[in-house]
């Protein structure tokens, strides 16, 4: 494949994922509103918000790192997404899948947060370091069950290549990791709750105590970049989970495959939305203890499970 076609495919794939991620955010806001007994904003509200923030005619910057913060964050989102094959067997949506890409993806999930930490720190607002400290601490803890569950997968499928892992789950629904290694899925889904930062684990953005935390000084285009990344990164995480645990999306017809992808990721996302709508927020230390207790034990159990049974 020539480099231009590949570039074209990647651009298509990134745009589709971003739009999907943002639309998903809109739908979720609507669902939350319905849970509260409201009508809620229209589904396309996130898009209007991004246009508006981009359209601001002044943007204040606090220095070079502040400038680079959102860029790093977007790079983290892009990096995560670009190494995940979105649709199994499709040329357009295969992105840059390569051997061992799972490790790279895990690294990129962390990368954006670190970049953002440096950038937001320069903003000088006291709430951003608090948010960052909470974010990094929570991230380190939910990474533990997720990493354990990935190790279990690596033992089970003998590979760190996402495409191979998806390939191994094809054929029947009973081949999904969900059924072949349920413990790993439980551990990973709990850490997904932390990753998505919905209610019990929303200590990072915590609108009531540290008004939205890290990005509090971000304005205009800086904020719009972060919002765009939220759509892309959100979609990337969900696609990763779908690939690793729920059989990926595969069909001869690309549109059917896309539909399958949308359906599966939507259901995966709904898990954290429902938990979020029903539970109040943890305090930072509670959230960290939580991740290091049961999910970690379940993660270890899943490794023992694949290694000895």
């Amino acid at each position: 494949m020539s480099i231009t076609t590949k570039a074209l495919y990647v651009i298509i794939s990134v745009i589709v994922a971003t739009i999907y991620g943002l639309a998903l955010n809109g739908v979720v806001r609507k669902i939350y509103a319905r849970v509260h007994g409201r009508f809620g904003p229209p589904v396309w509200q996130p898009f209007i918000d991004i246009i508006k923030t981009h359209g601001n005619n002044v943007a204040i910057s606090h220095g070079i790192m502040y400038y680079l913060g959102p860029v790093f964050r977007l790079a983290g989102g892009l990096g995560t997404y670009l190494f995940i094959p979105v649709i199994f067997g499709s040329v357009v949506f295969s992105n840059f899948s390569l051997a061992g890409d799972l490790l790279l993806v895990m690294y990129f999930i962390f990368f954006g947060q670190l970049g953002m930490a440096l950038g937001a720190g320069e903003g000088g607002h006291p709430y951003s370091p608090i948010g960052i400290a909470r974010g990094l601490a929570q991230m380190t803890t939910f990474e533990v069950p997720f990493a354990l569950s990935v190790i279990a997968l690596a033992i089970q499928y003998n590979t760190l290549n996402i495409t191979t892992i998806v390939a191994a789950q094809q054929g029947s629904i009973l081949n999904w990791t969900l059924f072949t290694n349920p413990l790993a899925v439980v551990a990973a889904m709990i850490s997904l709750l932390g990753m998505n930062m919905h209610s019990p684990f929303s200590i990072v953005l915590a609108p009531q105590e540290i008004p939205i935390g890290p990005p509090i000084e971000m304005n205009s285009s800086f904020l719009a970049t972060l919002q765009t990344n939220r759509g892309l990164f959100g979609a990337a995480k969900l696609v990763l989970f779908m690939n690793l645990y729920f059989g990926g999306a595969a069909h001869a017809n690309i549109f059917v495959a896309l539909l399958i992808m949308i359906l599966k990721t939507f259901i995966i996302y709904m898990f954290s939305v429902f938990v979020g709508a029903a539970y109040p927020r943890f305090r930072p230390e509670q959230s960290m203890r939580f991740f290091l207790k049961w999910p970690t034990l379940i993660g270890i159990a899943s490794i023992l499970f694949v290694a000895y049974f």
């Binding site: 409201r38 209007i48 246009i51 508006k52 943007a59 204040i60 939205i212 509090i216 000084e217 971000m218």
Partner: protein, 213 residues
């Protein structure tokens, strides 16, 4: 005009930040706000539509009228369906709501927050107190007219106005934004000296930078 004159004029245009101590002056910007030229007509129209449909509010509950802001977020009035959402930081919000009377102490914060908002920015003044002083018109410590100090786009009259009238105010603001009539930010930049003089006239302990970019 030669280069030297230009430099002198620029120097004079700089803000003195006289309220600050000698050491602090260098920490703050001394640039004045400059009016922003609109973009291409159609682009601006499109952006104005987006601005009107996504109003992020910075609510400043200065007086009793602010109590009517809270019900807007509840399921009974649900402002979110109009694309209005609260935002915790002046940097990110586009609509500033002055919730009632402003005392001399709060007008200082109002000015600071207003200047920190990134344009285009709109101001809704809530309650009779912000229009002409309302029932505090002869009080020694409240100011009577907000728009002497910052440009106001919409007034919502009443003491106190019901949430419905606030929503009506929002809808009027939307109309005005879409029609391109809300240019408070440029108005502030163009009449900067007038606004500053008014502000400094009443704020006696001026210990902040002249412009809080």
């Amino acid at each position: 005009m030669d280069k030297k004159d230009m430099k002198n004029i620029e120097k004079e245009m700089k803000l003195a930040n006289e309220g600050l101590s000698e050491k602090e002056r260098t920490l703050f910007s001394d640039a004045r706000p400059t009016p922003v030229r609109p973009l291409n007509k159609y682009v601006e129209k499109f952006l104005n539509w987006a601005r009107a449909e996504s109003l992020w509010i910075l609510g400043y509950g200065t007086g009793c009228g602010a109590i009517e802001l809270r019900p807007l977020m509840t399921s009974r009035y649900d402002m979110f369906r109009y694309g209005i959402a609260p935002r915790p930081s002046p940097r990110q919000s586009s609509v500033f709501i002055i919730g009632g009377y402003a005392s001399l102490k709060t007008i200082k914060r109002i000015v600071r927050s207003y200047e920190q908002m990134q344009g285009p920015k709109f101001v809704i003044a809530l309650g009779s107190c912000t229009i002409n002083g309302g029932m505090y018109y002869d009080s020694y410590y409240t100011i009577n007219r907000i728009n002497y100090y910052i440009p106001v786009d919409i007034y919502v009259a009443g003491c106190m106005p019901r949430p419905e009238s606030l929503i009506a105010g929002f809808n009027k603001l939307k109309e005005n934004i879409k029609a391109g009539k809300c240019d408070g930010m440029n108005k502030y930049a163009k009449n900067f000296d007038w606004y500053k003089a008014n502000q400094k006239k009443i704020i006696k302990d001026w210990n902040m930078p002249d412009y809080n970019w």
